[in-house]
Amino acid sequence: MNKSVYIIKENVLIAKNTYKTILSGDTSSLTKPGQFINILLDGFYLRRPISVCDYDDSTITIIYKIVGKGTEKMSLLTPGDKLDILVGLGNGFSTEKSGNKPLLIGGGAGIPPMYNLAKKLLREEKEPIVILGFNTKDEIFYQEEFENLGVKVLVCTADGSVGVKGFVTDAIKQLSGYTYFYTCGPQPMLKAVYDTTKVSGEFSFEERMGCGFGACMGCSCKTKYKTKRICKDGPVLEKEEIIW
């Protein structure tokens, strides 16, 4: 983890209530897809934890939905603005167990971390399949970006306006032969994925956090083996350890 000042390069609306921000600064503490950053905003006491969508040597891309006053404030930031951020938080996804044909299942605001994960799996010469779940057509983002990576992408919308009508689990049922899965999204979706998938996989969880780096025990959860902190020992948990 490092704490530094980052400069906003870009902050744009990419779908309904959904923004993409590119931050410029030190990315050396990011080591895996699925990690997150914790952003300090003027006028707010606690930081905002946001998952990393993508990163390179000098920039971090995040995608967030406006869900409250903090993210609303973030959406108003402009290029050149500076932010105090804790970077490189959480364990992230590990690609060792993925097999050759892993399934990446993202729902809404849970989609962003799947992007860097897909890139990493491709670098490892695997063939990820991506399922993106949204409620409606106007919420869709990053379909093209995933397609441009050269991976197979299935889009589902709850209202059937685009792609598979229904939830990500309806798309999962159409697929076979996948070796492993990675998922991030709302809790009910995660539970449905857990019940639908027949193979092992990794889940990225969300919880209200105090610090984001393991000090306050605000986001603890019970697993089959021990108590874990979602921020430090997670946010990624393995299928086998989860207690619903």
């Binding site: 209200r208 105090g210 025990m217």
Partner: protein
């Protein structure tokens, strides 16, 4: 040269800065960021007799310049703290630590304090009396002078280490409780623990915190803490560790002027993990700005 050394009884601390219990774990996460040996000391996570998971989540809610937590004393229990955490702490922190002890009955306080008494690493036992007393309808020990005095007396009987009682601000008259603890032999007082508060989610129309309410802390509670430290300082002779909303050098000085001999930093550690380091580094210059040459001499200076 500004002298920022302070004393808690016979113990001389290199500076007054002590991370507060529950905001610093056992030091490990912070030791990865900076050499925590620069701290005056630190108060480790509240410890109970048995292992505790704590309260259900969500346990955290944000407030204007503050936060609410209802972690609920998650800890591995006194035996594991002694066998596993203390040896780990010794590797990263070479000064005495403050052992924060909680209990739900007087027997539990006694059990834990008797065990921790044998640990050389522990400089002070800080007794959290804000827990509900299971033998008294769940009323917190620290909300009644008689109960607080009973805990103090029972704990003092089983340890030779200095005992600091950590007082709850959720009371009508904190002075009477402070005096009752002093009368039973408390070596010092820590104040204030968190206040009680809640937030309600406008979307769900239900409390944000699963346990409905929790401990309210953060910079917004500083004035309440200052007032209570000021009042208690007038009424007792034992040293006070002041805390509640402290997040800058100026806050540290203010807290000491109110009557604190040393100062704990709580919620601010969660927002800025480097806050204690930054305060320790900047403290001499800020003292100089206010013409303070020897920091320990300002304790109670506002009276």
């Amino acid at each position: 040269m500004v002298d920022i050394k302070v004393n808690l009884g016979d113990w001389e601390l290199s500076n007054p800065i002590i991370p507060a219990s529950g905001t610093f774990g056992y030091g490990k996460e912070f030791a990865e960021l900076y050499d925590i040996n620069i701290l005056g000391s630190f108060s480790f996570k509240g410890t109970t007799k048995e292992e505790r998971f704590g309260n259900p989540t969500p346990r955290i809610a944000e407030c204007p310049m503050g936060m609410i937590n209802s972690v609920g004393l998650q800890n591995p229990g006194i035996d594991k703290v002694i066998s596993e955490e203390l040896p780990q702490m010794k590797k990263i922190f070479h000064k005495p630590v403050i052992a924060n002890i909680s209990g739900f009955s007087i027997d539990e306080y006694v059990y834990c304090c008797e065990k921790i008494d044998k640990e050389k690493q522990v400089g002070i036992i800080e007794v959290n009396v804000s827990c509900p007393n299971v033998h008294n309808g769940g009323m917190a020990f620290g909300t009644d002078p008689v109960c607080a005095a009973q805990v103090t007396k029972a704990v003092k009987a089983v340890t030779k280490k200095p005992v600091y009682i950590k007082l709850s601000p959720n009371v009508t008259d904190i002075v009477s409780i402070a005096k009752a603890c002093e009368a039973e032999g408390a070596d010092g007082l820590s104040l204030i623990n968190t206040m009680l508060g809640m937030r309600i989610d406008l979307k769900t129309k239900k409390p944000v915190i699963a346990n409905k309410m929790g401990g309210f802390s953060g910079s917004t509670i500083l004035p309440v803490a200052l007032k209570m430290v000021y009042q208690v300082f007038e009424a007792v002779k034992i040293p006070i560790i002041g805390m509640g909303g402290v997040s800058s050098c100026e806050d540290v000085i203010e807290m000491m002027l109110a009557g604190a001999s040393a100062v704990q930093i709580g919620a601010a550690n969660l927002v800025n993990p480097y806050i204690c380091k930054e305060i320790i580094e900047q403290l001499p210059a800020v003292c100089e700005k206010y013409n303070i040459k020897n920091l320990k001499e300002i304790t109670g200076g506002a009276h």
